[in-house]
């Protein structure tokens, strides 16, 4: 049984600047955990630590422990961590030189999977899970970047889930999308929850309230409050959380 992710005393820096200040929280299995907070509070850095992408930026480092199913990810090979923890980014970023099909197949193929049938089945299943299959089935060989923004983002979700990760990180996945596409992706998140543990960073508090089970409120690198989403939005313990969700700042 997959245990989810637990973060212990995570501190992160960019050069001399400290952006996370001792974060501890648990992202439970098959739950949607939302991380909210004003711009620059460290939300993105937090989830980029979870798949060890933070450390790829020159000058960036971190300390503390992150346990994935009980194992410290900083003792694991980053490639293995990222095969277990997929990610969807703020702006859709399909691989420019690849077709729709190749984009979804990229994770498997570049891991050395050669059997056509297996790749084909994975592409179809992933695109169906990402609710994109019907829209692209007759043009799988067209470039991924020829799709609309909302479709590109669902393509990126399909690409991420094609390698069958256990966790999916989403870094403001709807901030570049229109309301209809946003609605589709939120629906998708509810469906994906069955198979995946999801961590979503969002600017949009209504979105956090709609899609998540747990919510963490981050302010200037500190986790101010972390609880069930219902409690955070109806009865927050901390004054600052209340101010933020009622729109008094941020």
């Amino acid at each position: 049984m997959f245990e989810g992710i637990s973060v212990e005393k995570l501190v992160a820096w960019f050069g001399q600047k400290q952006v996370l200040n001792g974060i501890s929280m648990k992202m439970g299995a098959n739950l949607v955990t939302a991380i909210i907070g004003p711009s620059g509070c460290g939300k993105s850095t937090l989830i980029r630590c979870l798949n060890r992408l933070h450390e790829t930026v020159p000058g960036a480092r971190q300390s503390g422990r992150i346990l994935l199913d009980g194992r410290d990810i900083y003792q694991m090979d980053p490639v293995e961590v990222r095969r277990t923890i997929g990610m969807v980014f703020q702006k859709p970023n399909p691989f420019p030189a690849m077709s729709i099909y190749d984009n979804v197949a990229a994770g498997l193929r570049l891991d050395g999977v050669r059997e056509r049938r297996r790749v084909g089945e994975s592409v179809e299943r992933s695109l169906k899970m990402a609710a994109l299959w019907d829209e692209v089935v007759d043009r799988l060989d067209k470039p991924g970047i020829s799709l609309s923004g909302g479709q590109q983002q669902r393509l990126c979700i399909a690409r991420a889930i094609a390698i069958e990760p256990q966790v999916l990180l989403m870094d403001e996945p709807c901030s570049a999308l229109d309301p209809i596409s946003t609605g589709k992706i939120e629906e998708l998140i509810q469906g994906l929850k069955k198979d995946l543990t999801i961590v979503i960073v969002t600017h949009n508090m209504q979105q956090a309230a709609r899609v998540s089970d747990h919510t963490g409120f981050l302010l200037m690198g500190e986790l101010i409050e972390f609880d069930e989403t219902r409690k955070i939005f109806t009865n927050p313990r901390d004054k600052r959380t209340e101010d933020y969700i009622t729109g008094r700042f941020g």
């Binding site: 798949n51 992408l53 790829t56 020159p58 980053p78 490639v79 293995e80 961590v81 990222r82 095969r83 277990t84 997929g86 990610m87 980014f89 702006k91 970023n93 399909p94 691989f95 420019p96 030189a97 690849m98 077709s99 990229a106 994770g107 570049l110 891991d111 470039p143 991924g144 970047i145 020829s146 990126c156 690409r159 991420a160 390698i163």
Partner: protein, 283 residues
């Protein structure tokens, strides 16, 4: 008041547009003149014989530059073997791992090499290939031209790879793909169309190089006899024929120049067509 300002804006707009148009015309006119003159002078002497025959001895009319055309193609091929691997892999290094002192040094050296007169590179090839082998050869010419290609290819590759957004690299890494595979299988293909353009520029430049070939490839009046033997090339042949006192040779020199330009043009077009089917990122 407002009408007045509107008129002035319109007038300024017209003036600047006219100026821009004029600059474009001034840039294009020499090109058109050169091409036109080449066509007028060279087309007369271009016929089937020109492509298939060897040069005739002095005094005999006719003959062609078949050996020089094959020679130029051979030299370009050899130059690519020397220049492309070093240039492209070096460019990838600079773009991905070159944000340090070594990178700075390589970049600086490439720029210096780019500014080095080609005849100096010819002397270098003479020293490292011709002297030890004790003869002029196609190989020496290829080495000289290959070295001339390196800086153009290295910098073009670097710039074009750098244009691929960080988000694309991160998407690759986040899929659990090792960094080297992300670079070779995702980033480089995204920059392919641009890299091809850079390579074509380098090819166009070396195809017309004459000076470094004088004492490396040397020239040859016969068909190619092997890569370790002297070899003919179009620029050298054009040079020899153009400074000769014979009317017929002058015509052939013009024809050679026309063929050389046409070869470069056709290569560019073919490569464009071949890479067009791929989806490029760098718009």
């Amino acid at each position: 008041m407002t009408v007045n300002r509107y008129r002035r804006r319109k007038a300024t707009n017209l003036l600047i547009s006219a100026l821009a148009f004029l600059c474009v015309a001034v840039t294009i006119i020499p090109l058109v003149l050169i091409l036109g003159h080449l066509l007028a002078q060279g087309a007369k002497a271009v016929n089937l014989d020109f492509f298939t025959q060897l040069p005739k001895p002095v005094g005999e009319v006719g003959g062609g530059m078949g050996n020089a055309i094959v020679g130029t193609l051979t030299l370009i091929g050899l130059a690519c073997l020397v220049g492309l691997p070093i240039g492209i892999i070096g460019g990838i290094y600079l773009a991905e791992f070159g944000q340090n002192k070594t990178g700075w040094l390589v970049r600086f050296m490439a720029d210096v090499l780019n500014g080095t007169p080609s005849i100096v590179i010819g002397i270098f090839a003479y020293t490292i290939v011709v002297l030890p082998m004790k003869r002029f050869s196609a190989l020496a010419g290829g080495v000289a031209l290959g070295i001339i290609m390196i800086p153009t290819v290295i910098r073009a590759t670097e710039e074009l790879i750098k244009l691929v957004p960080v988000s694309v690299r991160e998407a690759g890494l986040a899929l659990g793909i090792p960094q080297w595979k992300v670079i070779l299988r995702i980033v480089v293909p995204s920059a392919k169309a641009g890299i091809v353009t850079g390579v074509l520029l380098a090819l166009a430049r070396i195809a017309g190089e004459t000076a470094p070939l004088l004492f490396t490839a040397f020239g040859n009046r016969f068909w190619q006899q092997g890569l370790d033997q002297p070899i003919a090339s179009l620029p050298l042949q054009i040079f020899t024929y153009a400074i000769s006192p014979f009317e017929d040779w002058h015509r052939q020199a013009w024809a050679g120049a026309l063929v050389l330009i046409a070869m470069i043009l056709i290569t560019s077009i073919l490569t464009r067509v071949a890479t067009k089917g791929q989806h490029h990122s760098v718009k």
